[in-house]
């Protein structure tokens, strides 16, 4: 297992380097320029100077090499400096956002907590909703419950979050003035009431995303359960005189979880990716909102770095999913 992991990680390095180049070129070739953000009242000479100050006038490969150096050397060095008080960076420039002129990693660091709490909670809530629905739908296939579950899952799949989000706002913030529509990032949870406040402001974005997540996961759960439900070993368990609970929750569920767990693991990078639309709608300053803001402002260093981090996460979580599969299913062994 260890050699398998190491081999996969080593293989990932050239892949990721290649991906980084592709992302860089794609981001760079995409139409638009940071110029378009500068108002027309700024004269062309000044615009030109501003672009030069950003380094955006350099040829693409020069910027790519610089970015590589910043990403793989300056940023880690900066991190080490921060931990041990060393001075490895020695005044070299970190990756700076063109839009805010602050280091991209500082921005990411500021945003990860919100994304993890909101999107992460939504993912967990989604899983928590999806599991029982998936299990019960499969257990009572074609029952009324299953039909309703199917319908809800279909709605969850097909209704875009900007629609469900706006609907939630109108119902829970405008008609029933219960929940805030704008996420307050400065809220520090120190006591019971601020904790409640945090729950209230998380409620809507979490529910919107949880619904979407639950739809997908409950379907996976259901089909995986159904597949196992008809297996002989389930009949064996019944023949042993095990209670239905044990049969379903121990025998069927545990085997059905194997593919579902991997699907869930593969979905984790998307938590880090944040939810572009939902975050934006509810003012959650997560990674998704950062990405869309950066795209709008043609903030290339930000877009590039975020896109690359997602690529790394996807590669890593693919590996984790594979390893999990091996751990969960005794039939699979990696050498």
């Amino acid at each position: 297992m260890l050699t398998f992991t190491l081999r996969r990680l080593l293989l990932a390095i050239p892949t990721l380097l290649f991906i980084s180049l592709i992302i860089f070129l794609l981001v760079d070739l995409a139409p638009g320029s940071p110029m378009s953000e500068i108002p027309l009242t700024v004269p062309p000479e000044v615009r030109k100077k501003m672009i030069e100050a950003l380094g955006a006038d350099q040829p693409v490969f020069v910027r790519y090499i610089l970015w590589l150096r910043q990403f793989f050397w300056v940023e880690p060095a900066n991190l080490i400096d921060g931990w041990f008080g060393t001075n490895l960076v020695g005044g070299e420039q970190r990756i700076l956002s063109w839009q805010s002129r602050s280091p991209v990693f500082t921005v990411i660091g500021q945003r990860i907590p919100q994304t993890l709490t909101v999107i992460g909670t939504a993912y967990l809530v989604g899983i928590a909703i999806a599991m029982p629905i998936g299990i019960y739908s499969a257990y009572r296939q074609y029952s009324v419950f299953d039909q309703i579950g199917t319908l809800i899952a279909m709605i969850g799949f097909s209704v875009p979050t900007f629609f469900s989000g706006t609907l939630f706002i109108i119902v829970f913030a405008v008609w029933l003035p219960w929940l805030p529509t704008k996420y307050d990032t400065t809220l520090a949870v120190t006591d019971w009431s601020s904790f409640l406040q945090q729950l209230r402001q998380m409620a809507m974005p979490v529910m919107v995303l949880a619904l979407a997540n639950a739809a997908a996961i409950s379907r996976y759960m259901r089909s995986s359960m159904l597949e196992n439900m008809g297996q002989d070993y389930v009949r064996t368990a019944r023949a042993k005189g095990m209670t239905e609970r044990v049969v379903v929750l121990k025998h069927v569920l545990r085997n059905s979880l194997i593919p579902v767990v991997t699907v869930i693991a593969l979905g984790i990078p998307s938590i880090f990716g944040g939810a572009i639309i939902t975050e934006n709608l509810f003012g959650v300053n997560g990674i998704g909102a950062a990405l869309i803001g950066a795209i709008h402002a043609n903030d290339l260093p930000m877009v590039q770095t975020l896109a690359f981090i997602f690529a790394v996460l996807i590669v890593v979580f693919n590996l984790i999913a594979d390893i999990l599969y091996g751990l969960l299913d005794p039939r699979i062994r990696y050498e």
Binding site: Y142, Q231, D232, Y233, R235, T236, A237, R238, A239, K240, G241, M242, T243, E244, V246, H251, R254, N255, L328, D329, P330, R331
Partner: protein, 351 residues
């Protein structure tokens, strides 16, 4: 009639229909009559063989007997209780008495459970054994079926097919059952191991006084192990006879055809025997023929067969057959006292 007391299993009019739904609204449009009105009994300590071609409903019958399916109709009295009527909890309590060895040893074992938890699980559920006692019992069962104790913590995929079937048997034995349905326990195994497993089952029967329903389409293996044999065709039992009688002189045309395919150990008889080849395909159990189920392929078919389903009735001592040829109420087919010689009959038909 046999005395009812010694009958461990009594099956009466058992039906197992699988509903077929079709269309967008999933309307009930018909049934697969996998088991259709089957009645028989098994005496305590007896082995009843159940033979028939693939898809005739043997496994379904076995599973319906043990309430692994919800039977559509009928009575299944096992050890004095009608299993078909038991409520969930009572049924669960009843389960230890009746067990099953499954056709596919690989699929019937939970891939994520170790051998000892597979065998031990029912012990936890149905007995009050301590952990140590339970472990002891698991080892004992493993010994009984000839599995090395070292294997206790291995997973099913780490065993050979024969070993897996032994696990299946050990598992079935764990709760000291009285009645075991063996659903083609040897079909997935190669010949050398088949004999081992069958011998194991026989040994266990002798030691533990078990009653078997032994499902197989290997007729020679059935001949070896069964006391009586039931022949099934398209969801119905067509003949139920003591083993030797059946193998010597099958009554039902289908039984005759089936047995004609068996290797005859007696060279003298083998020479005289002719293989009867059945024409046509097995009809669909969803849409069986109107009359006798076998009428579409029967070499001896006659008018009545096409319109009326024969039911199983007693002919000579201890033999039951479902065929109009032997119907006592029909003089042309012979009298109650004597039976027409099959050969004669055969000629009669061929002319």
């Amino acid at each position: 009639m046999r005395e009812a007391v010694s009958d461990l299993v009594q099956v009466d009019g058992l039906k197992m229909y699988f509903p077929v739904y079709s269309g967008v609204l999933r309307r009930h449009s018909g049934d697969i009559k996998a088991v259709d009105d089957v009645s028989f009994t098994i005496r305590a300590g007896e082995t009843l063989g159940l033979v028939g071609e693939s898809g005739c409903g043997k496994s379904t019958l076995g599973r319906a007997l043990l309430r692994l399916y919800e039977p559509t109709a009928g009575r299944v009295v096992i050890d004095g209780e009608d299993v078909a009527l038991l409520r969930t909890e009572a049924l669960r309590k009843k389960r230890p008495t009746m067990q099953m060895v499954f056709q596919d040893p690989q699929a019937s074992l939970n891939p994520r459970m170790s051998l000892s938890s597979i065998i031990g699980e029912p012990l936890v559920e149905h007995t009050a054994l301590s952990t140590a006692q339970r472990q002891e019992r698991i080892y004992e069962l493993m010994d009984q079926v000839g599995l090395n104790r070292r294997f206790a913590n291995r997973f099913p995929h780490e065993f050979s097919g024969g070993q897996r079937q032994r696990i299946g048997i050990a598992r079935a034995l764990a709760l000291n059952p009285k009645f075991i349905v063996c659903d083609e326990p040897i079909a997935a195994l190669d010949v050398s191991i088949q004999a081992q497993v069958v011998n194991l089952l026989e040994d266990l029967q002798d030691k533990l006084g078990l009653t078997y329903l032994f499902i197989s389409h290997d007729l020679s293996m059935v001949r070896h192990i069964a006391d009586r044999v039931a022949v099934m065709y398209l969801g119905r039992i067509v003949e139920l006879s003591p083993r030797d009688d059946l193998y010597a002189r099958p009554l039902h045309p289908y039984a005759e055809a089936l047995l004609s395919a068996v290797n005859e150990p007696d060279p003298v008889r083998a020479r005289t025997r002719q293989r009867i080849l059945l024409k046509g395909d097995l009809p669909s159990p969803a849409n069986p023929p109107k009359g006798c189920n076998f009428c579409t392929r029967c070499p001896k078919v006659f008018a009545r067969c096409l319109s009326e389903k024969p039911s199983l009735f007693q002919v000579e001592g201890g033999r039951q057959v479902a065929c109009h040829l032997y119907d006592p109420a029909k003089p042309s087919a012979g009298s109650t006292g004597g039976f027409p010689h099959p050969k004669h009959l055969q000629q009669g038909v061929s002319e």
